[in-house]
């Protein structure tokens, strides 16, 4: 059947900066969605050629295989320090880190706090799935009370293992931060909001407004021991109560940025 093409327009396509390979991520994991959203924003803002990614250690260590831009790969937790080195040398380029919660909220807590405190003009994408995915699902600082993991087989006991660390809330208190928000990737509506936040965060950096971070609640069906559909419900029931979605820091200059949703 011939379709008259005059009325057709492309409304959705693979961003060309996203590589055409099969990812190593598990079925139902939302890393792929996060990658895609970042890739869309890089294409939309036309900054593919002047953006540098800093990958971290964890499941997303190979994020550089999926986003076709210049990349470095940091030691565990050190991505904000490495990104600082890159950005200080190349202040006109866009520099982002892509870090999981084991990397950022545990071993890399020093680096993230101080990069935020300095108001380093970089963007951090923080994937929070409440466990160490790459090493097989151990307890992370972000694991919720009672959460069973391979290193908390009886559930996270706050008496001995303490309480979850809410990174967005923590960083929002630092004067150096400009844009700190938490979004979730568990359904389409939230994914659209996440995309908008990712774009805003990059625009914050493009306007030299300082440190921006988007925390993305993510699913990890394999290590949570549920199927991909159940994982979305698990996230809503278990993560959102501890990690409420919301804007934790938006300085007035950032609030003026208008991003079409």
């Amino acid at each position: 059947m011939d379709i008259p093409n005059t009325n057709l327009q492309v409304v959705y396509q693979r961003p060309d900066v996203l590589t055409k390979v099969v990812s190593h991520y598990c079925p139902g994991c939302t890393h792929g969605i996060a990658h895609r959203l970042i890739a869309e924003v890089l294409n939309e803002l036309n900054i593919v050629n002047n953006t540098i990614g800093v990958a971290s250690v964890g499941c997303s260590i190979f994020s550089y295989n999926y986003i076709d831009i210049d990349f470095t790969e940091a030691p565990h937790g050190r991505a904000p320090a490495m990104a600082t080195g890159v950005k200080r040398m190349l202040p006109d380029k866009i520099v982002f880190t892509y870090q999981g919660d084991g990397d950022l909220a545990s071993i890399g807590m020093g680096e993230i706090i101080h990069a935020a405190g300095r108001g380093e003009n970089i963007t951090v994408f923080f994937i929070n799935n409440a466990n160490y995915g790459m090493t097989g699902g151990q307890m992370a600082p972000t694991s919720v009370p009672g959460q069973k993991t391979t290193s908390s087989p009886f559930g996270r006991d706050v008496k001995t293992a303490g309480y979850p660390i809410q990174v967005s809330e923590l960083l929002s208190h630092l004067e150096g931060t400009s844009y700190i928000v938490r979004r979730s990737l568990h359904d389409s509506a939230n994914i659209r909001k996440a995309k908008k936040a990712i774009r805003t965060a990059i625009e914050v950096q493009m306007r030299c407004l300082g440190f921006s971070m988007v925390e993305l609640l993510s699913t990890c069906p394999t290590n949570w021991g549920v199927n991909p559909c159940e994982a979305q419900d698990w996230l809503v029931e278990n993560l959102i109560p501890v990690y409420p979605i919301g804007d934790y820091k938006v300085i007035p200059e950032v609030a003026e940025i208008r991003v079409k949703g």
Partner: protein, 383 residues
């Protein structure tokens, strides 16, 4: 080109600035802190990048990031801080990006103290970081050498894309001596002849993307990397050895020492010569690659080697391997931040020149411990 009275730490810092340092990242630790302080003022004056990091861990990773852009980068620290940097040094070595590390050694282990020592020889020479990697190590013993070998360190680091260390101790870092600094140049990446290295991560404008990583999941790929690093190192071993020889033509006793220990030993050697003792000094400057061949050449003429260090015999073990079975190797060291006096080394030279080795079966380190314990009894407390 004027001779100026310069403190070691400042001489190294200003030299780095003058040869075009783009960025310095560091963290305060005695006895290297003046280097960081000098950078905090001068790098800002020259509109270069200076950043005081929150830890040595962060500092080395800032260096890592900046080095990945192809810039000329440096950091400095001392023992406890160097230990923290070892993680990043291993990653940087694996990624093959250049940078210069200045290690101003103090006494250890642990916090030890802030006095000069050479106790981190093993850590720096034999690699304190994980994995199979190599780094160039230059050990100056004067302020002028500190200047000259800082210049060379950047050239070697960038030529071989290799971590290069300027290894001094608290004495050289803190003492003042005349020296001639190099001419002032703009930051390396702002110099007219500079083009970004073909591997640099600066955004993929005009070329396929660049990736700098230290992970190679395939064992055969990692094996390939290990072999490539080794082959390059073996080339460096042939080309980049540096040392100084003093009074060796007819020497029967050869003192071996680097840095401050080498300098103190030279005073002792000169005095011993005035007494007619046939003694000379071999002072390695490149501790890695070690000038093995030059030392081996001395074996035939030498009755005994005397290794002098400010540690418990770390380089001594390497010297033993190089000249083993053929020569007697004696050891004298002061440790814990104690600096040997020339008199102590002189009495060692006299002891060796008058001793008969056939009757001497005691291990040189055991013998040294015994002699040192006797010396400590005669010294005032808190020397």
């Amino acid at each position: 080109m004027t001779r100026e009275l310069l403190k070691g730490n400042l001489a190294i810092a200003e030299t780095a600035i003058r040869v075009g340092l783009d960025a310095y990242f560091g963290y305060p630790i005695t006895p290297q802190t003046e280097l960081l302080e000098w950078m905090s003022r001068r790098m800002v004056e020259e509109e270069r990048v200076f950043l005081q990091a929150e830890s040595e861990l962060a500092a080395i990773n800032m260096v890592y990031g900046a080095a990945c852009t192809g810039a000329r980068v440096m950091t400095s620290s001392s023992g406890p801080g160097i230990s923290l940097m070892m993680e990043g040094i291993s990653y940087i070595a694996a990624t093959e990006v250049p940078f210069v590390l200045v290690d101003v050694m103090r006494a250890g282990p642990g916090l030890g103290n802030i006095d000069a020592a050479q106790s981190d020889y093993n850590q720096i020479i034999h690699g304190g970081g994980h994995g199979d990697y190599h780094q160039i190590v230059l050990a100056p013993s004067t302020i002028q050498e500190s200047i000259d070998y800082t210049v060379l360190a950047f050239d070697l680091a960038e030529k071989y894309r290799m971590v290069t260390v300027v290894l001094i101790d608290g004495i050289i870092g803190q003492m003042m001596e005349p020296g001639i600094l190099p001419e002032m140049k703009p930051a390396r990446t702002k110099q007219p002849d500079w083009i970004p290295p073909k591997w640099a991560v600066r955004g993929k404008e005009g070329h396929d993307r660049h990736l700098l990583t230290s992970i190679h999941m395939s064992p055969t790929l990692e094996e390939g990397l290990n072999l490539r690093l080794l082959k390059q190192w073996r080339e460096i071993r042939l080309k980049e050895t540096r040392y100084k020889e003093y009074y060796l033509d007819d020497a029967e006793i050869v003192v071996v020492g680097f840095g401050t220990a080498g300098r103190v030993a030279l005073s002792a050697v000169r005095t011993a010569r005035s007494y007619g003792i046939k003694v000379g000094l071999f002072r390695p400057i490149s501790l890695r690659p070690f000038p093995e061949e030059a030392l081996e050449k001395l074996v035939d003429q030498t009755k005994a080697f005397l290794v002098v260090e400010m540690n418990t015999g770390q380089m001594y073990k390497d010297i033993k391997k190089i000249v083993s079975n053929q020569s007697r190797v004696e050891f004298y060291g002061r440790v814990g931040g104690v600096i040997p006096f020339p008199d102590e080394i002189l009495s060692e030279i006299r002891r060796i020149s008058s001793m008969s080795y056939q009757s001497e079966n005691i291990d040189p380190i055991d013998a040294w411990i015994q002699r040192l314990e006797d010396i400590r009894k005669t010294e005032a407390v808190g020397r």
